[in-house]
């Protein structure tokens, strides 16, 4: 396990400065600033329309902010403003150092090609060309996400929802990214399937020392996975802090409402 205190980890990986997005007169996201460090899991919570998905889109360079900026420390150690990256550079970042796990696996997978190809495709995109090695690595990753190797040649459209989501995770992690964005990754799943997925994500995140920005409306997901939490309402961050602190000792009226709305286990 990497040492969180080492010099390398003392530099933020991603910095959001006064990030805002408006659509005409409607402000979807207002003045969001924070730093994310290597190995840190940040949960963005809030209900629909709170601006959390807009924020995630901007943080991952898929949506241009109206104001503010996002900077990212690249693998070569140089910190770059995302908007200064060319399209090719941004795509490369997405294929190598970043992952994005969508709520709907169909958005993050190619449903008609085999599971093995779904994972292998990301390796080929970063220059792998040895079929045997690609297949071995793909099988290795399917095992890590608890998918039976016998299903490697099947297309994900024949998979259950939970399997598809695990496959999407394997596809994202195979290039050993340092930062993974997750948008409601357990959203459409049954409760028992959710628990298994969360447990898997939790151990992979720790093992690979991943930084994660996860958007969720489910506080139980935030509690299980994240170190820190940001609560959003009306496009603003209204409360932020250590996850257990915010959930056990919520300060803002809206956070108290969210916490008090959880059904007891």
């Amino acid at each position: 396990m990497a040492d969180l205190d080492s010099l390398e980890n003392d530099q933020p990986l991603l910095v959001s400065e006064s990030l805002s997005k408006s659509y005409g007169r409607i402000a979807a996201c207002r003045d969001v600033s924070f730093s994310l460090y290597p190995g840190e899991v940040l949960a963005i919570v809030g209900e629909s329309g709170s601006g959390k998905s807009t924020l995630l889109q901007m943080l991952s360079g898929q949506l241009a902010p109206s104001a503010g900026q996002v900077s990212y420390r690249m693998r070569d150690g140089v910190t770059r403003d995302l908007t200064s990256l060319g399209e090719a550079e941004r795509r490369f970042l997405f294929r190598t150092d970043w992952g994005f796990v969508h709520q709907d696996p169909a958005q993050g997978l190619r449903m008609a090609v085999s599971a093995g190809a779904n994972v292998g495709e990301r390796l080929m995109a970063v220059g792998w060309n040895h079929y045997g090695r690609i297949r071995d690595t793909a099988s290795d990753w399917l095992t890590r996400v608890e998918i039976d190797i016998a299903r490697i040649d099947d297309a994900p459209r024949t998979y259950s929802g939970g399997m598809r989501q695990r496959l999407q995770i394997a596809r994202n992690l195979v290039t050993e990214p340092r930062l993974v964005f997750m948008d409601e990754p357990t959203g459409g799943l049954d409760v028992s399937v959710q628990a298994r997925l969360l447990d898997l994500v939790r151990s992979l995140v720790a093992e690979l020392h991943l930084a994660v920005i996860i958007v969720t409306h489910d506080l139980a997901v935030a509690r299980l996975l994240s170190h820190r939490v940001m609560v959003m309402k009306g496009g603003r961050v209204i409360e932020t802090g250590l996850t257990d602190q915010v959930l056990d000792d919520p300060r803002e009226p809206y956070t108290q409402l969210l916490v008090s709305s959880i059904l007891p286990p």
Partner: protein, 236 residues
Amino acid sequence: MSFPMTAMIDIADAKKTFTMHLQGGIELPVVSGVTFHVNPGECVVLSGPSGAGKSSILKMIFGNYRCDSGRIGIRHRGAVVDLATAEPRQVLNIRRSTIGYVSQFLRAVPRVATIDVVAEPLIVNGLARAEAQARAGELLHRLNIPERLWQLPPATFSGGEQQRVNIARGFISDLPILLLDEPTASLDAANRAVVVELVAEKKRQGVAMVAIVHDDEIRHLIADRIVDVTSFAAAA
């Protein structure tokens, strides 16, 4: 007022109030003027009736509850850090290498084997898995958890067994500060005696402890000093 430089925990005038926004914003004073210190190798027991704020104070020392004012000085890697104002990252560092918390209830992670639940704090701090598991086994053995259960997740264990797993997890690490929230609550006499022994060993290693214990006999056996929490009762 200055305490010896050696204090591991040095709390000065800490205050905590809950504001219940959903109940019309009523203020629920919990504690105020909390002031005490804990030296290495010392076990301070918090006393007072239920609702006096003992658990809240423990949570304030762990950074789980925020303070309205005052100072929670923690000696962390040779320097004093005020936990009341520390950044989340720093609080996490302090929890990983300085303060351990043994709660009454195990927050079990589904599907993780008991032996790994116990070994995890050592693995996180860089110890090899095999060695961490060996030490976890030793502790589970002492706490009378039969070896056939070690590979099972503790979620299905009895309350007493879960608590012992939790104690093993709390005592396994070499952290210089331990917070004990009723560590013997649902244990039988034999296992209570093991916990008393474990506390004594920690004292010899110089660990500073703050404990909440309802059992008079246990309190007597582990307390070096008693801090009466009723004196911190916030004026309602």
